[in-house]
Symmetry: C2
Subunit: 456 residues, 2 copies
């Protein structure tokens, strides 16, 4: 990158908030995927005005800009393509307001999601979205990818909590979308259009999120099944009874085996499925719900069931689920984490298809995820240095997407398209849908400055 | 309109599904507002293919198309401008699927919202959005305007229940958005962009909506207050306690007086506010919630409170709220129904400002609406033949919008912008926001064929 441009960027953000040495820039070349791309320069703006100036400069000089939070994304959404400017928003990490009366918080994009959880829960409030990376990921990234998490089944995803945004447009202008009210039908719903747009339609510089009262009580159940269909029927029966657990997680046999081998939690490695069910709400509601769940699990011939009320006991039950990500990479270092999502009724069929794919390509493919909303996480565990295995993995990914679409599902439930899935997008959206997306992108970013090479 | 174009439209929809006589066309010139605009021709397509052909023809001949359901809209969203084609979707009124397992329904746009309620409730399921016009309004119109209703406080608006759409684009192509899963982050969120776009970005020809299990129990409370602030504090205290009623309606003194004078329900005409609170859920939860609500109302010095469990008793309490719309037009025939929405904490201040506006312009202005989400309905009751009064009303509307924006609110909570509020849009969105909207519209509808003259 030309020195005069670096100089101008330095004038905007200050000399301590810019990086251009190669050994430093490389730290901003990755995310949670196997994708890599090193930016020409990394800037750390503080404030909407600085972001606006950077984007205006980028438009003038026709340099691509890649917005970035903590780099925990799972679709390559923040990875620079062909150099450009990495726009790191982690300095903008203030929680500006938490209103108990209006049940909302105003935050900057660099706020870590888990920190927001803590701050609002201290006041008896609750921000439900809980992506697995919540201890490091940022709210800006959550908006960009429309992050989900286990609690999404009951509470919905990030999109369902965004009330308003401050956005720097792809041409560097500043606009406000939505506001401080839950109901707002003034103009197109830019708030939701921006949410999940993966940094291609604007840079979010301030976020108003809706909060809810913190549930008063919680109970957790770990239920073991010898039959995958029985586990799936249990999920449907619970929902049919009108019980909506906060989380309804499933782990398949391969995952159970893997977790048990590394974490030694006493899980039966011959079980076909484990459900981890957590209910929350008022004391009366939680007691009522867990009783209904126990009855349904028994009726559906579960092998065993443990219910916990106290925090320490609940944490113990959660250990199995929390151990999954680290357990499955013990075997091989490269994890290709997918989030193909199917209608709830198709979960058993999807798991069966995933097993066939795993056998066909001789790949290690544990399946776990959010059974309540059909959002499974098939993970291919491989070694990126094994060329043959990686080729088989690539073919398997294609078949996973095909299976999800065949069953009326979607490529991505909560990770986004990024660079990892863009070749498959037309398979889901069709050429007309893709053209519609492209037309919107071109209309608001005519020079293709903001996060080019993503989604399409 | 040229005869050859009418002939071609007739070929598409059949001779019994087209209207071109002036006395018949006039039936499609209105909605729920005081706006009027007669189309040159009215067509009643059946099927996505026919809609697509009509839009393609309209593009070829550069004729504007105005999609329309039952015409119950409150912002002029479906009113034709300068003639054109009225595209009436009421023949496409099939409920194509209700899935208990996947908790969804697939419907055509002409399905009446209340009919969908009945059909899904028969199966123990629930579709929450409940606009006041639910007995006549159609699902397509609900999507176009992102309709709300009293239950939106607990359950959210139409947008929160739309999973996927089949859409004929402004150029006549057919595309699918979203799908059958709750989680879906594949590409931009076109489903939500289309929802609330007031028929300007596409014609919805099929809708997949999310359903939830039907709540098992309900209780209703009618609470009378001598003090507006006490009523507002009660609303906040209920929510702070973690109780989220299904509906939390407020009526001001003027509204109470008006209802009592016409419906004689025994309401105290000197009360400052009435709250109508309904809780739903499981038996245990409903009992627990209503007890908390009773305690809070007592603590906040309500004058009187009546709680009902049985359907007949609950219906009696609802009578006051349901009587509002017909009661307020007894005095004068023209109702200008607004839906300016403020953050919940600003409700008392907004009601005070509305009273000042009413006095300043010497207008009859009852206020009622959804207190839970700050979505008030200030209604100006006037006579459209009284020129002076209508001029004062117009000025008052401007001041209502200004007050809502001053208090951090929005022009429209659930009615949409249509033609009624478009001159005020820039005041809320700013020039940058408005340009962003316009860029999207122009990108997908370059010839401005679909519902021109709406929103901006």
């Amino acid at each position: 990158m030309e020195q005069r441009i670096i100089k101008r960027l330095e004038n905007i953000v200050g000399s301590t908030n810019i990086i251009f040495k190669p050994e430093e820039r490389i730290c901003y070349s990755y995310d949670g995927t196997i994708q890599r791309g090193t930016p020409d320069v990394v800037v750390f703006p503080d404030g909407t005005g600085e972001v606006s100036e950077i984007i205006k400069l980028a438009n003038l000089e026709k340099i691509p800009v890649f917005p970035r939070g903590a780099g925990t994304g799972l679709s390559g959404g923040s990875i620079p393509q062909h150099g450009g400017i990495a726009l790191v928003l982690t300095r903008m990490n203030r929680i500006k307001e938490i209103s108990k009366e209006d049940l909302l918080a105003v935050v900057e994009p660099g706020v870590i999601t888990g920190n927001l959880h803590q701050e609002v829960e201290r006041l008896g409030l609750f921000y439900p979205p809980d992506p697995a990376s919540l201890k490091t990921c940022t709210m800006g990234g959550n908006i960009a990818e429309n992050a989900g998490g286990p609690r999404a089944f009951k509470y919905g995803v990030t999109r369902d909590y965004v009330l308003g945004l401050e956005v720097v447009t792809p041409t560097g202008d500043i606009m406000q979308t939505g506001g401080r009210t839950v109901k707002n039908v003034t103009g197109y719903d830019l708030t939701r259009l921006l949410t999940g747009s993966e940094g291609t339609l604007g840079v979010v510089t301030q976020i108003i999120v809706r909060l809810i009262p913190k549930p008063k009580d919680k109970k957790t159940a770990l239920v073991i099944f010898d039959d995958l269909d029985k586990a799936a029927s249990t999920v449907n029966a619970i929902i049919s009874e009108g019980v909506i657990p906060a989380t309804l997680e499933i782990m398949d046999r391969i995952t159970i085996e893997c977790v048990e081998k590394t974490a030694h939690l006493g899980l039966p490695i011959d079980a076909e499925a484990v459900l981890l069910i957590e209910v929350d709400g008022s004391l009366a509601k939680v007691s009522e719900d867990i009783q209904i769940i126990e009855d349904i699990c028994t009726k559906n011939s579960c092998r065993a069931m443990e219910v916990a009320s106290l925090l320490a006991d609940r944490e113990r039950l959660w250990k199995a689920r929390r151990a999954v990500s680290s357990a499955i990479v013990q075997l091989k270092p490269t994890k290709i984490s997918e989030d193909a999502t199917v209608p709830r009724s198709k979960i058993p069929e999807m798991i069966r298809r995933l097993r066939e794919i795993s056998e066909k390509y001789n790949l290690f493919l544990p399946v776990f995820g959010h059974a309540g909303d059909g959002n499974l996480h098939p993970n291919i565990i491989a070694d990126k240095n094994d060329k043959d295995e990686m080729e088989r993995a690539e073919k398997a990914v294609g078949e996973i997407f095909k299976a999800a679409l065949d069953l009326g599902g979607t490529l991505s439930g909560e990770h986004g398209i990024g660079v990892m899935k863009k070749n498959y997008l037309e398979g889901e959206m069709g050429a007309i849908g893709l053209n519609y997306l492209r037309a919107i992108k071109k209309a608001v970013d005519p020079q293709n400055i903001l996060n080019p090479g993503k989604i399409f």
